[in-house]
Amino acid sequence: METLELIQKLVVVLVCLYLSWRIFRYIWSFVDVEKDPLVVLVTGAAGQVGYALVPMIAGGSMLGLDQPIILHMLDIEPAAEILKGVKMELMDGAFPLLKGVIATTDVIEACKGVDIAIMLGGFPRRKGDSKDLIFRNVGIYKAQASALEEHADSNCKVLVVAHPANTNALILKEFAPSIPDENITSLTRLDHNRALNQISENLNVHVDDVKNVIIWGNHSSYVYPDANHATVDIGAGLKPVRELIADDQWLNTEFITNVQQRGQAIIKSRRLSSALSTASAACDHMRDWILGTPKGTWVSMGVYSDGSYGIQPGLIYSFPVTCEKGEWSIVQGLKIDEFAREKMDAVAKELMEEKTVAYS
């Protein structure tokens, strides 16, 4: 029949087209088309965390092994020599992905054309409370905000690490109004990773198999690590952490304090702040933001609150987010029990207080 013949011919043509397309794609993958380099700014690069972070960036741990980078490193005048030393070391490292390094104390030169900014610069946290750091940091972030606004790329993604991270990010947002709200975030991935580790140690599984904890709120001693929706991959599917641990008491007390005070514990051991894990968490944060989170997994990022989960808008608050195509979205519809509600509100209160202090 004619129609049948026609259909057969059509099918053959379609199959041929499809196969040719596949061949073309295969050949294209051999053509070594290098991506355009991304400009990454690291402030406070002469410090501990910066020294741990820059080789991770230059080695491709942050943006992937096929993404060339140009590094901009910024620090204050007194650290200019040290910064130069770091630049020399980066050159000596012969990193194939590193297409250029600018080491400067001039904030404008540092912010030119920046696609990704990681703000480590700020007063370092020592044994004690983080509240008195707020005052010292407001001035710094105000200046850097205007520089970024004027000179950085329009879609620049910003990650604030320096304590107090959430409030510094808020200051940055206030004084750089033309940077989109969703592009300014703060680091809570460190607490997220620490929480994953606490659970994996408790259950004696590998940390890779634990996922979906949530860090709510502020990266401080009020941080609330929530394991209510966390799961563990035990080979036969995903089991909720609450079930496996079967110790709500521990989850509601020790687990939380362990994560909250881990930073202090490390300072006590090393006599120095936790540079290695912070740098690693910063890499994870950026990488998941830009390259996307794996399916079925979410991560914690300090982002601009839009009122989800009853948290007042206008704060930088850590939520569970998934990322796709360079944009994050808050995971909605998670159940919040009373205990969690209390904790989340307590953290929100602390953030409001910090905000008031910062604005005064």
Partner: protein, 399 residues
Amino acid sequence: MAKDPVRVLVTGAAGQIGYALVPMIARGIMLGPDQPVILHVLDIPPAAEALNGVKMELVDAAFPLLKGVVATTNVVEACTGVNVAVMVGGFPRKEGMERKDVMSKNVSIYKSQASALEKHAAANCKVLVVANPANTNALILKEYAPSIPEKNITCLTRLDHNRALGQISEKLNVQVSDVKNVIIWGNHSSTQYPDVTHATVTTPAGEKSVPELVKDDEWLKSGFISTVQQRGAAIIKARKLSSALSAASSACDHIRDWVCGTPEGTWVSMGVYSDGSYSVPVGLIYSFPVTCRNGEWTIVQGLSIDEFSRKKLDLTAEELTEEKNLAYSCLSVDEPSSPQLKTTSRKRKRKSVDIIEQFNAKMAQVLELKEKKLEMDILYKDTSKWILKLLNFIKNVVP
């Protein structure tokens, strides 16, 4: 299918270089993004707290490839089952310190670690010595761990190799990944010889020789060499601390190329046990150009060595021989523990007895000569008296 985890030992892990190195290992930069690792981190008891802090940070970072961390001050526990050992532990070099000052402190450390590795590490354990003086520490390690194959003990000169690549790329304003095949000959010290005679740059028009492109033999033979030789000191001056970042990065490069192989047409510099190639004395750990395949290195043979290079190669070999003797003399001050060392000290005792005898003989000769001199003096005095008398007589006689 996930690979079996590889055990990697890092000594001196509580220090600067260790802190930069362990995240690189845990992220898969050293052995590949699909190779799980178990990290053994070792340091001395005073650093136990700091070491624990490093372990806490490693687990906090939730590295997917890191299947376990053993943090200990016990060298036996640290060496058990180890497949790759990176010896960063040693006395650190500070501003103003010469490498030789550091030598004696390090020699005894490496002696004890050698025996631990020999007894407890895995069969084909690969060792990379980083702590300065790297070449000589590696040699000591080899001497005291005779059952570890010679070819498995290497020292780090990849740092200087990378620094040389960096200098060339800066000078020619090209990407460092396009420069290759420099050679670092000899000792990781100020006598090292960075040799670009065979180095090339990949340009769109093919591979070009570096000396041709640079067109400045003067710089290549002086400025370039001294910059690479003294880069370490320059970084200490700027940072007030040793170059941890680049050292860690090059340690990763060294092991990665050793284990996974060097790219086709490229060689790298590794400090390896000399077999006499290029007329370098046998029995030293000397940096050569090597290619790596299937986990084994081979010295690149047949490269032409011009006169200038020959002098440099010999100079650094000389320094290495001196360091070797210095190291052995440091060791003979302690109680000899191994039978090897007993015979060496006996030989040395005999040698010193010989020397004393020779000295005595020479002293006797000197005394003889002194006596002879005295006699001559007396004779001279007498003779001159007679001559004077004669002269007077002549004066009187001749009016």
